[in-house]
Symmetry: D2
Subunit: 414 residues, 4 copies
Amino acid sequence: MSLLADLLSTIFDRSTKATPNTKLDNRPIAKLILDLIGSRGEVRGMTLARQILDRYTAMSKAKKRDFFKYLATGLDIDPVDVRAALEAYEADPSRINYRSFMEVAEPARQELVRRLNQVPRATGSLVAMRQDLLELARTDASLSALDLDFRHLFSSWFNRGFLVLRPINWESPAHVLEKIIEYEAVHTIDSWSALRRRMQPPDRRCFAFFHPAMPDEPLIFVEVALTKGIPRSIQKILAEERDVLEEENADTAVFYSISNCQAGLAGISFGNLLIKQVVDDLSSQLLSLKTFVTLSPIPGFTQWLKVENLEDVATDERLPSLAAAYLIKAKRLDGSPLDPVARFHLGNGALVHAVHADANTSIKGQAQSRGVMVNYLYDLSTNAQNHEHFAGSFVIAASSDIKALAQAAEKLDT
Amino acid sequence: MSLLADLLSTIFDRSTKATPNTKLDNRPIAKLILDLIGSRGEVRGMTLARQILDRYTAMSKAKKRDFFKYLATGLDIDPVDVRAALEAYEADPSRINYRSFMEVAEPARQELVRRLNQVPRATGSLVAMRQDLLELARTDASLSALDLDFRHLFSSWFNRGFLVLRPINWESPAHVLEKIIEYEAVHTIDSWSALRRRMQPPDRRCFAFFHPAMPDEPLIFVEVALTKGIPRSIQKILAEERDVLEEENADTAVFYSISNCQAGLAGISFGNLLIKQVVDDLSSQLLSLKTFVTLSPIPGFTQWLKVENLEDVATDERLPSLAAAYLIKAKRLDGSPLDPVARFHLGNGALVHAVHADANTSIKGQAQSRGVMVNYLYDLSTNAQNHEHFAGSFVIAASSDIKALAQAAEKLDT
Amino acid sequence: MSLLADLLSTIFDRSTKATPNTKLDNRPIAKLILDLIGSRGEVRGMTLARQILDRYTAMSKAKKRDFFKYLATGLDIDPVDVRAALEAYEADPSRINYRSFMEVAEPARQELVRRLNQVPRATGSLVAMRQDLLELARTDASLSALDLDFRHLFSSWFNRGFLVLRPINWESPAHVLEKIIEYEAVHTIDSWSALRRRMQPPDRRCFAFFHPAMPDEPLIFVEVALTKGIPRSIQKILAEERDVLEEENADTAVFYSISNCQAGLAGISFGNLLIKQVVDDLSSQLLSLKTFVTLSPIPGFTQWLKVENLEDVATDERLPSLAAAYLIKAKRLDGSPLDPVARFHLGNGALVHAVHADANTSIKGQAQSRGVMVNYLYDLSTNAQNHEHFAGSFVIAASSDIKALAQAAEKLDT
Amino acid sequence: MSLLADLLSTIFDRSTKATPNTKLDNRPIAKLILDLIGSRGEVRGMTLARQILDRYTAMSKAKKRDFFKYLATGLDIDPVDVRAALEAYEADPSRINYRSFMEVAEPARQELVRRLNQVPRATGSLVAMRQDLLELARTDASLSALDLDFRHLFSSWFNRGFLVLRPINWESPAHVLEKIIEYEAVHTIDSWSALRRRMQPPDRRCFAFFHPAMPDEPLIFVEVALTKGIPRSIQKILAEERDVLEEENADTAVFYSISNCQAGLAGISFGNLLIKQVVDDLSSQLLSLKTFVTLSPIPGFTQWLKVENLEDVATDERLPSLAAAYLIKAKRLDGSPLDPVARFHLGNGALVHAVHADANTSIKGQAQSRGVMVNYLYDLSTNAQNHEHFAGSFVIAASSDIKALAQAAEKLDT
């Protein structure tokens, strides 16, 4: 452990060193790119890679678009070459033919990205590059295929085996904590005092995944409240004045906020593994914990009420029934739940446990779901089975209460 | 820095936890593999991955061969699918068509290896798996193409951007130091006392590359002696009784041993980046250092003397001339130097600086090169240019002394 | 290094463990104290010590006064015993007689404090205890002798050899940074944004001494600005909007704030060693630094102008002259400078380098010194000599400019 | 935690820096000493302290004796001054009178040692200095009182509150592990392979106390074997070939070796706190552990048999009875057990649990105790009470088996 701690500290040292004074190479960037892809020496390659990254960073949005265009078209696969190599391999599946096929079946831009990554701190820059790309691709379909290459590489690099789970708390470095403030997407943190209320008390926890090559950047984090019983209100959890619970008196761990941090890692999912790992860690550390549950928003509920013309029916006492019905009956075309948060937790093997009116009295809570929130339950004994049923045919696991509520809602419908 | 140190310590925690008690899945391994490749849930995937790795580890050599055969044939690309996807993409290079092409142009076994890597400590197991594969492929050509997939993935994972340079010394953990004993391939270390002589004195240094997912395993390491002047004898460097030099009196750093550690990472080269980084680090730490040089073996010299019928001519006083001639004139068919160590250092931009008779009096030294050794000089001012000339057309940089010696040898030849 | 890092982490582990469930001992605290002082078993002693500390913490101010009264009188030396032991030792200076003398010549309360310190985290509690004592002693002379015992022990425990210098920056733990906000006594920090401006930019530094037994508590810290040239205004240094200087362009390090953190360590001085160490560290890290200087308040200047009836004379253009005169001529009865900050820096061997009008435009700055500030220069070449002359006979080192200014002020006087 | 780790790393940095080039002060050492004791500036003090320590280190044994003589006589208390100060304090117990008394009642050599300790790494040097002193004092009674001053200071500095417990294992730094080899005093470790057998297997543990100012030096360590059942033979524990037990199958932790490391800390006891802490830590980590027991030598048994003329009676089958009798009946004049190891463990509140013949077949084991060894049991439920009874009146706690065996031995006696 100490070796690792020790050895990793180098990344930092290396990273903060100023770029060595290399002569600027004024050739067009496409030249540098081709040179980098073709270079055999790693040392020369690193100099080229650094220059390309530096130039990219300084580019205007329009220039970045050109850059990506070049990657999309100039560094694409060549179907003629692929076909030829494929035929050769089909005729004789030898090592040399397979190598030729591999070389032409993967576009040169993937090798480019890998080589750019040799530069210290490049991984973070490449994640930022993809963020730019995703933004540009929204209005330029010709770039959307290109994103698949980034995604493919990032899936490999941000593999679970390379991620590190870390607790975040009031003893964490300030520059990381300020990122929690920045990235919190579910229940905004508006000051350091508010942050402290979530990070310091012994009945509050936070965990994040990090990647060793981006040690200052959380990838995703989850905030946890330790409680006695399952909570029914997010405002009570976030209250400024509240009684702090002794760790050993808690029987429930509540995941009340999960936020992805890196727009450039969109589509590479960490959430389910994060929750799984945190459940494992907490349950082995705090033997008194018996229940693992979320207190989650229902982002599509208000909209669904509208679409279904149920706004008038949705009086206060009927909201829970309707929410239960929405969660387990409203579906997308492919049969999966309409609600995105439901898809996430059910996909992890959780079950819909309970819904609560007046659970989120904030403006956002009212707008999204008329103040209703839901607990998804992570029960280790049924988790694998729930997951399987859901993965197979979108069977939704729910408590009998929820089922009864949804049943009751049907009568409203008619 | 402290965050990183801190966060990385989790890898250890995670890794040492016993495998959770999951029910053993008794289906054939091919079933598990297909299940893993096709699974959508990461949690379920991790359970499958763990079982596959555990089963693989327990396999006999014959079973491992079967396992690889299955990967080579059962999880290969399907040319029919590739061709169809290629045509679709050629006709319409849309995102969806590109995705389809990517999916079929990459064999499923690559996805398998990526998914196996989700398990804690899996990276090391996969490196060991490739070591098995390389051994089996030596006698079974049908497996040699398969290795390209491992190599492709490992090149991406062991990218310079993910590696960490660390000093190794007498304060390093014993379990890492014993690996230095195990992996030292150039000048064997035969006891802890011998190790201590190389690691503890202030005029001895050692540096290694590590990967965060294999924190206990050096990937490659270099041993350095700080000296006054360029050394002419390896025995003097390794002597049990010698005067230790004060760090600030050293003007020369001698790379006297470089060893790769992981057979399963064959073909993924770290050596030139290691030397480059160590030169950078040492020169910024020890301002008195002016010269960076190797004291290297000449592994092919004796054999070349024999092939060239020069054994009789090679009297003691003529050995240096002949060695110089061998190093700069003996070539392979492609024009590159015949000597493998020369290829490595010249490829890094070093130059042949000097040769010394009686430089290695050990049995191995006599057998390889009649006791002659060579200094390759790493000179930052000429390094880039040397590298370029060598990379382009195998132009060998050498000192005027070496050139003169080689010239003198020509006369012997005639 | 890694071992140490590793080994020290235990303090934390140990400290956070809840107090074991020991039966509460309801006897009067004086009984527990005598029991602890007399106990031979360390394990039993630790239980007693913990109970005494817990009880003390829960005491009202009045009870604390009683507690200290008991220490002052009940655990004082006994002159009769001391005299007897002294006579025996005088007659025969044997080991046994010396031991007897030592035992009675040191009051039992010192042993009490040492034994209390066995409990994890006790050191911090004892520092807090002395803080209480100092407050009570201000109005109760009978307690002031008692403080000498605490001071004696703390001088030994907080010996320079046990202190650790650490940089504090934006990557430091939040719970330490909030203490910087709390303890900054010279130029108040009123928000996390203000703190960030002092901790994050590359031309700002902060260093603190810590003690291993109180790892979360800085003892003293100094804030440093790296500048080009010697600064003439504190507001410019603290400005929200300012150009950040590249580290390598700085030629001057400015100590612009030094704050003691622990009221319970009053009288145990760390300041001069802190500055000395920081000068050493910065000058070896940043070779471009040539000048080490303070930008210091002149706390007694306004008051002195008043006492000397110089308020009317002190027009804007004359303030620097008067300040120079105040700094080098105004003395206390013992011959030392009247100004406390001057005493500190001159005692460290610094010299009075320059005074600046309009250097501190804050209300506090106007009130203390009519906005004038002073640079004390830490010049390694004259430091030892200055120190010696000052220590011997309060000779004040000053630049020729300052001397000339002070000279000019004399004419005003007449 | 990370802060602490971080902050402590400075000690190392600081310590390894070369002594700055200060001019050597050629005055007699007594002059330097008086100068140091009297100096007011810490910076000047540190230069003096360093020179004194450097000079001391270079001294011959004879010179060291002179040095200590000077401390013993030249820096002793002055009875006249003490008496005068005592009388003043008796007449008026004011702060100023108490301060005067404190100053003269403590010999100046204590202040000297405290001031020497300001130098980086000085603590270790002072511990070594006391080691020299203890050796010299053995043959020179005039120095034996002087040792009390060192002991007094060290008791304060090496207070439990400042010590750190750390596990030692195969991942510990080599330079610490080699000290385990060096200091192991009970069952010698003769090679790195032997060390590895004690440090690496999961059913072997080692713990040591460290002091932050001597981070490379263990103060005391204990070796632990995790076993199933209470062991009856040390050779079985140390066997080269043995079945390693899974951690979770162990029900017993056996303390089979405890070694003090620093001769210069003689008389400052850490052992009982070490065992107490290790019992606490292991029992909270490994819930399967039910029994904490030693396997201890009986160093005085053979000698006692001789003195008591029991050598002839002591046939193999009678050895255990006699050993039991020795342990619980053989006493010193003050009523404490004759056996030193028994005194240590019984003083900690352990009880004599069992004795085993043929438990130590080594030459040393035969010589000390005819191969018999003893288990002392650390039972948390009886520990405090045992301790109290033993501390009060040397009542020895023992199992009924031991009592019966000792009873049986009495019949032999007659």
